[in-house]
Symmetry: D2
Subunit: 335 residues, 4 copies
């Protein structure tokens, strides 16, 4: 961390600032040019609050050199993390597809879709029981009853299940869930992240709608700092000015995450685009970019889906996509 | 709502879609051009899920004509809402300034700042006990102990108090809080919004970091649909590509909100800019744009603030600002 | 196009508006609900100025149903366009890689890089003589002298060449250039687009830094409306709030363009990411997403490049990438 | 400028980099921590190309400490610049309103509007003859004939005139124009900026639709580096994800520009919002934020305007606004 001091900074205040930094275990390296005087902070600066230093009247600017995350940082953990969900591995060369409906609607729907996605090669089953909807007048999910249907589909197919949590108080209902999803709107629901840091179930952390990659890793750090290092990241599109699609899928986040972190990262092309026809090309592109998995919405009758029908694949289209994804993964192993 | 059908749409499927809409209480007006066939839906379309219709294979596009919010909509409530916080009124010509520190740190700090902001003319006192911080290693607030200090300052000064809630389970601690703030990261924490809809305390709903004005009003609608119509909106800057400031303050949101909604809207220039020197010009601009109030961070010793020091005013600078704001409000009454 | 009228609109003004629309060759279909009265315009609305109608005091809103572009619209030209650059075809299944340095620096550099990229399988050669640099103090390119060096490299290798134009007055210098590039900052330099519409050389139209897909197609329409239908689109990253990379590569633009337009679209991962290590994964992802080509920066000595060294590949890395791209294209033909 | 070296960087390459920097007239201050080794560059770094250094394989990152602009930088020119347009001063306490139609349509329109805006207190007259329109099918302006009408209105009223240039080749037509506007789409049309740097007429430089404040100042620097220091900046709204308005007016740019630069900055609320009713509140807010002027669209018959009618004020509404603006300026002088 580099502190750029204002010209003619009061020498006593500079001294006080230096002592404050030293008392946090850092050492200081000074440097002075014609127009600038710098203090370089040496040591573990991840605990230093940049804006606290900015508040000091003698400070003109502060620049961070080291990343503010530690547990999620590849520098301190060079090997890829492999996260186990039930008996499925994700990361470090292990690739998995999660399939299933946006929301759990009925037993028939869940069991039918579950069997079809398993048959097509999905290794995990998704289904939402608690649905974050922009409008209070939209279908909000079946809640506890929905989770029961999801667990029945798990029993029927043997697939580990993934579902979204919206509030820490619901955690007792998630005991048999294999992978707990934190949605885009809750990526910085820090109270929820702290609770998830205390359990040892894997967490699927979706990127916030307008989160930087650093903020996303800091949210992973919240969970990991609490003791739960089983975090899988999920890119699901970010908000831009473009209006022809739901979000803008940021596939370049994949190689960037791989550079900065050891955590696995999967891609959700269904929510990213919001358009059925775009799911296949974006899935293949995600594989090519190095994703560790995909999360795809599948519905037995998209036109009647209670949620996100326009982006859901039929089981047939999903099987078709899985065939391509599988061949592509094999091809990439030879590349 | 206008449904644009695909060319050569299967007539039976068109009929089924029309029946589905009619069964929701809507009537239908058809229109056919050389290249396009439209279904106009007439009635209360706020309950219609646009994306559900989009999922239908015969549909090319859907456009909403009416706003999806009702309780927050000025069309159905032409008069400005006036919200009472303690004995302070906000909205409909009533203007109020909220002052206080970003985070509650000690009794001395709270009491000193509270007395100073009251003296300067603030009508409400702010102070954070639960702090949403990007890093798990940053100061997270004093929690319950902080709220106690805030309530002591309330007792000492008589000012109603505002503080942020981060999880619905903390609600019992907020019994004596006068105005409960929902922060930018929780604007779409729908479980929290639903709980706040059940109480009858006023809620200060900050705009999400990258929320559209419509999404913001839909979040207000969540609280109002639950029965609590005491919502005050707070613009606090949005995320853009600009890096020289913390956020981009969107003052044009004020006249737009006034057009679309009857709810009061205040402005937080401290968080929006993150820079002390910009608080005054942006406060005056907010008043000129028609804001119903301001929320300003004030700290007795900004360089030692545990949070957001760079944007905090000293009590002296705040008094100076209040003087200008008061004169400006008086001037505007003559304009 | 749908015009939503205000309640209680003056009947004479409604009549006048209808007559105005009819005089533009459109017919009108009226529709009236409880809260809304609509005028549907039927006919070629691409020439109707939406904001002109919005200006009418009796109008509440206007929604476009048909796209405002015609020549670039797939609806009126269902087959993929194939654009010929020299003897190289792009689009409609024809794939081409453009390689070469960001800026032309010397004869040795150009000839060396040109031979290396040809050997590796590039079908076109790039090199910038006119460089749009953010700073007036940065290297601005060799201008006419640079173009001469590029044409020498063309002669030496037989590769058709691509280079950027920054002002219509430079056109005479571009006579032997095979593909003229319009850079991201000039995508809406309409005077330049109009001049390029008058020639019959192919144009490589980069997406504006913050352009919507519709605006991009409208800029293509400018060139095509002038008579030059040889337009190739190039996605090169858009501006978002993310700061870890130069831009955010929007690969979902590829399937979206394919849906809306018949024009070929290629991808420039070098400018999009600005980071050498990200060029390969993003190139492969672009191929998987359906791109018709790639444009890659290659420099014989990136550390000494006068421009954009951090994103340039060495000829060896480029050959390695080309090998993968070629195998991947072959694989995709079997998929 | 701080260069952060990679761990285990080759010592000879570090030496070569240091020599390269020294040869540019910089001196170097080294600093080494447990995890990081830094080179601090001391001297005039505005000529150093940050990305050139980034391209060096031994470099992990580079951070700029000093701004890359010099002529536009307040540090080297602490007094406000006052720009003279005809006999009107702008900046340094001098405030001016520019009024007039979006596009010049006829003699009657120009003369009528010109007289009305003068009467209401505008000090300059605007009118577009070359119109940058998104669609090639929209009205493109009257070009040379339009300029003649504008100059007639100048003669009739004595008001200095402002109009947009779209291509340097049109400069001869602008001889009698008093203030030449560079539009948002041409803010980085560097060939045009260079030509404008060679003349000594004042330039009104609009902010690019998605430009950072630094990029905007760098474009001013282009003109100033050429020798023309008469630059007035104009904030006109930036592109964000918000769809209810045309752009998002960034009033916080005003105090930020005032901090970084000595150049005057005015605001165009008409283009920023695109909505007539929002022009007044945003104009008053701009004055409160410290703007040196306003540019307002006025049309004698907005519903018939050939361009941007929805945002144009009638002469009566403009007179009403001018009255408020004038009173507000007087009030601010007493504040």
């Amino acid at each position: 961390m580099i502190i750029i001091l204002k010209k003619q900074a009061d020498e006593r205040k500079v001294e006080a600032l230096k002592q404050e930094m030293i008392s946090q275990g850092l050492s200081i390296h000074e440097s002075e040019g014609a127009n600038t005087r710098l203090l370089g902070l040496i040591g573990d600066t991840s605990v230093v609050d940049l804006r606290h230093i900015m508040a000091n009247e003698i400070v003109e600017n502060v620049k961070r050199i080291q990343e503010p995350y530690k547990k999620a940082n590849r520098k301190f953990h060079p090997e890829d993390s492999v996260i186990k969900v039930g008996n499925v591995k994700i990361g470090g060369g292990h690739f998995a597809v999660i399939g299933g409906p946006c929301s759990i609607e009925s037993k028939e729907q869940m069991v039918e879709v579950a069997e079809k996605v398993k048959e097509a090669g999905a290794l995990l089953l998704r289904g939402g029981a608690f649905k974050p909807r922009t409008s209070p007048y939209s279908f909000q999910g079946l809640h506890g009853d929905g989770l029961k249907l999801l667990l029945e589909a798990k029993k029927a197919t043997g697939l580990p299940v993934v579902t979204e949590i919206m509030d820490a108080s619901h955690l007792p209902l998630f005991e048999d869930v294999d992978l707990i999803q934190v949605g885009t709107r809750n990526m910085q629901n820090f109270e929820l992240l702290k609770e998830l840091g205390k359990i040892n179930k894997p967490i699927l952390l979706k990127r916030g709608m307008a989160s930087t990659i650093e903020e996303w890793l800091m949210s992973a750090e919240y969970i990991m700092a609490g003791g739960n290092e089983n975090v899988i990241l999920c890119e699901r599109g970010i908000r831009t000015y473009e209006t022809s699609m739901r979000n803008t899928l940021d596939l370049s986040a994949i190689p960037m995450i791989k550079k900065k972190s050891h955590l696995p990262v999967i891609v959700d092309p269904s929510h990213a685009t919001g358009i059925r026809d775009m799911v296949e090309p974006m899935s293949l592109a995600a594989v090519a970019a190095g994703a560790d998995g995909l999360m795809i919405e599948v519905h037995n009758d998209p036109a009647r889906a209670l949620c996100d029908g326009p982006q859901s694949l039929t089981p047939e289209a999903f099987a078709h996509l899985m065939d391509k994804v599988t061949k592509m993964r094999e091809f990439f192993e030879t590349l």
